[in-house]
């Protein structure tokens, strides 16, 4: 599976995010690199939820982080609403980040423990508004220079320095405090906190440790929504939660998606959860894309042997794929030195000689929205 290729990319006009040939590599030492993500391509249409699944180490979290450019991908393009994020400089990227937000797995660790919940939620607004204070810093710098110069010259220079300092400080402060001074932002924060099912009055007083894991995850969601993002990348958002709370959060995400018209990229190792939330599913293995397409088609009839293995291993009491194939007992190969050809071949029950020589290209299965990178796909019933 280790497939590459872009046959599955769509041409539709409502494509919000299009990732092409994305490669993320991390140097280990002078000679070797970790091939975390090796040329994957996918697209997400507006209002859609793309589920991204795979074992730990398959590069799904790296993919998510590379989309928001932390760190920037080694190569490839991340096209968001017609802009290639890789080409933006830091300031442009910061401005763009309010459009692409992220929710992390550990709800408590990802919130600042020393701030009140309300402050955490409004922080995004503060940050996204402070970029205007650049001239402020410039004036402050000028003030320092003039003040130093004043030591050698006249009183007039000293006065000019003071003036520049005051002006700079004012611009910075205005930038910092604008969101909480402006009444509309306050309302916005309250509205979002209420929308995710929390009490805004309580939120102004309490800190994350006073909230349960489920509530903290609601705070994380509120923090992203307050910026009115186009797309939210959720990295294992419910994996640390109990089932009863997990259902609350999943339902809440669905509500928020409808209410605020957001698009989701939902990363999870839990195929039952992904089944529930996603419109399309992408299966990754060792930095490559195995299978992508409509989740109904893939769950009904997985075409990639790896997808089948994943589905068969699912401990769901209602799993129709249970026992279809044996569990894998071999180890995940090293991403420093991945297998040639198809990366799954070393563990694949269907591997042949060609799998070691040629990397399979992504091709359509049947006529529907199902695409697989495999020399011997399963869909023909064999």
């Amino acid at each position: 599976m280790a497939g590459t290729g872009k046959a599955h990319l769509r041409d539709a006009s409502d494509i919000l995010l299009r990732v092409e040939d994305m490669v993320v590599e991390f140097p280990v030492d002078r000679r070797s690199v970790v091939h975390a993500v090796s040329g994957i391509s996918f697209d997400v249409a507006k209002g859609e939820t793309l589920g991204l699944v795979g074992e730990s180490g398959c590069g799904k979290s790296t993919t998510a982080k590379a989309i928001i450019q932390i760190p920037r991908p080694t190569s490839g393009t991340v096209n968001f609403q017609g802009t290639d994020l890789n080409t933006l400089d830091d300031a442009e990227l910061r401005a763009m980040r309010s459009q692409i937000q992220m929710i992390f797995q550990d709800p408590i660790a990802s919130l600042n423990p020393r701030r009140t919940v309300r402050r955490i939620v409004s922080e995004g607004l503060v940050v996204s508004n402070t970029t205007v204070s650049k001239p402020g810093w410039a004036l402050l710098g000028l003030a320092v220079i003039l003040a130093v110069a004043a030591g050698f010259t006249s009183l007039w220079v000293l006065l000019a320095g003071l003036l520049a300092g005051l002006a700079g400080g004012f611009i910075i402060l205005k930038g910092v405090f604008r969101p909480s001074i402006g009444g509309c932002s306050d309302e916005r924060v309250d509205e979002i906190i209420t929308a995710v099912g929390l009490d805004p009055v309580e939120a102004a007083k309490r800190r994350p440790h006073e909230y349960s894991g489920g509530q903290c995850q609601r705070v994380s969601v509120a923090r992203t929504l307050v910026l009115d993002p186009e797309i939210v990348i959720c990295d294992e958002p419910v994996s640390a939660l109990d089932v009863s709370v997990q259902a609350q959060i999943l339902n809440m995400l669905e509500d928020m998606k409808e209410r605020y018209g957001i698009t989701l990229v939902f990363i999870s190792h839990d195929l039952s959860v992904v089944r529930n939330v996603s419109d399309r599913l992408a299966v990754m293995y060792l930095g490559k894309m195995c299978e992508i397409g409509d989740s109904d088609l893939i769950y009904a009839q997985p075409a990639h042997p790896y997808t089948q293995v994943l589905l068969a291993a699912l401990p769901d009491p209602t799993n129709p794929h249970a026992g279809a194939v044996d569990a894998l007992d071999s180890e995940l190969p090293s991403p420093i030195n991945p297998p040639s050809g198809c990366r799954f071949r070393t563990r694949c029950p269907r591997a042949e000689a060609i799998c070691a020589e040629q990397e399979p290209q992504i091709a359509q299965v049947g006529t529907g929205d199902q695409w697989v990178a495999c020399h011997f796909p399963l869909a023909d019933g064999s």
Partner: protein, 353 residues
């Protein structure tokens, strides 16, 4: 090797409670739990975080060394009382235990070999050659390739699944009669999880030990256990033969838990039915049934009287209005009519939930 007995009750727990003295008062984490475990059988203990499932087992094993702990009731292991005595001589050779995170349970600066030799030499008094031979045998048994080389490796050189296999090998080294597996696969990928669970099943058949499998995942417990005990707020909610729990669930909590889980056989975007509210506070638990504040069937007596386990010997449940009975339907319709339960939980009418 200790006893050739293969049938009979191995562990008989009776009204066993564990509490912790805190500044706010006594936190009753395990509240009068009773169950019996037959030799060679598997009991699944299922519950959410804070249900007391882990504390129950750690405390039974004598692994909690806090002087704030208050332990009451009785637990007979093969006829010997565990409560109120030092249980160290049961560790390893009679009761083995594996934990959720194999990296923190293994000693990171000790080679796998030495960690495996420890129980072999201590409990079975083997010499070095015998221990090496047995260690290789054990690693082979748990499906670790190149066992000889592994003995010389450190835990960090192994993957998560491999480490958990090493943990199982260490737990099996003392040939215990009971293996307590506390969330053994929660930190692992689904593919590895299946392998480890299958392995535990095979080993149990070969060795004939009893297993207590603690998990938060009903799916993991199903099909791999003889009985399932479901805990909530430190109390047993339902105790039943595994399949019966799914086909004929009696406790509203079981029902609520089951409908909160996303299922692969449902279409996408199926609305889940979450359990509203939060788990109970162990220091000030709700009066009456612990689940009553979150239960859609709750009536007045649920808030005043603590339901005891009832039903048949095989299938017990702690509820006045078990699912599927006339009483529960009556309770449900009463609550629907008045729009809320006896505890004030709002009932959403169908379609708006």
């Amino acid at each position: 090797m200790n006893s050739p007995k293969t049938t009979g009750v191995l562990l008989d727990v009776n009204e066993y409670s564990v509490g912790f003295r805190t500044e706010r008062g006594l936190a009753q984490v395990v509240d009068k739990v009773s169950f019996q475990l037959e030799r060679g059988s598997t009991l699944g203990i299922v519950g959410e975080s804070g249900s007391g499932k882990s504390v129950l087992n750690r405390s039974l094993m004598g692994l909690i060394s806090s002087n704030r702990q208050v332990e009451e009731g009785s637990a007979l292991f093969d006829g010997e009382e565990l409560v109120g005595r030092d249980r160290q001589n049961f560790w390893g050779n009679r009761i083995g235990m594996i934990f959720q995170d194999p990296m923190t349970s293994l000693n990171p600066v000790m080679r796998i070999g030495r960690q495996l030799f420890e129980p072999l030499r201590q409990h079975l008094a083997m010499n070095k050659e015998q221990a090496t031979e047995r260690a290789v045998e054990l690693l082979t048994q748990v499906g670790i390739p190149e066992p000889k080389r592994r003995l010389r490796q450190y835990p960090h050189e192994l993957s998560g699944g491999m480490r958990q296999r090493v943990m199982i090998a260490i737990a099996l080294a003392g040939e215990p009669e009971l293996l307590i597996a506390d969330e053994p696969t929660t930190a692992l990928d689904v593919t590895v999880q299946k392998y480890i669970l299958d392995l535990l099943g095979e080993l149990q058949t070969d060795i004939g030990m009893a297993i207590i499998l603690i998990t938060h995942d009903l799916g993991v417990a199903r099909g791999r256990t003889d009985d399932i005990m479901e805990m909530y707020g430190g109390r047993v909610m339902e105790l039943s033969p595994s399949e019966e729990l799914f086909s004929d669930m009696s406790h509203p909590y079981t029902q609520a838990l089951f409908s909160a889980i996303p299922r692969v056989d449902q279409p996408k975007h199926t609305r889940l039915t979450p359990i509203s509210g939060a788990p109970p506070d162990p220091i000030e638990p709700p009066s009456g049934c612990r689940f009553s504040p979150r239960c859609v069937y709750a009536q007045d007596d649920c808030t005043t009287t603590l339901p005891e386990l009832r039903g048949s010997d095989e299938h017990q449940f702690a509820c006045f209005y078990p699912v599927g009975t006339d009483a529960s339907m009556q309770a449900r319709s009463t609550n629907t009519t008045r729009g809320h339960t006896a505890t004030g939980l709002k009932i959403q009418t169908a379609g708006t939930s």
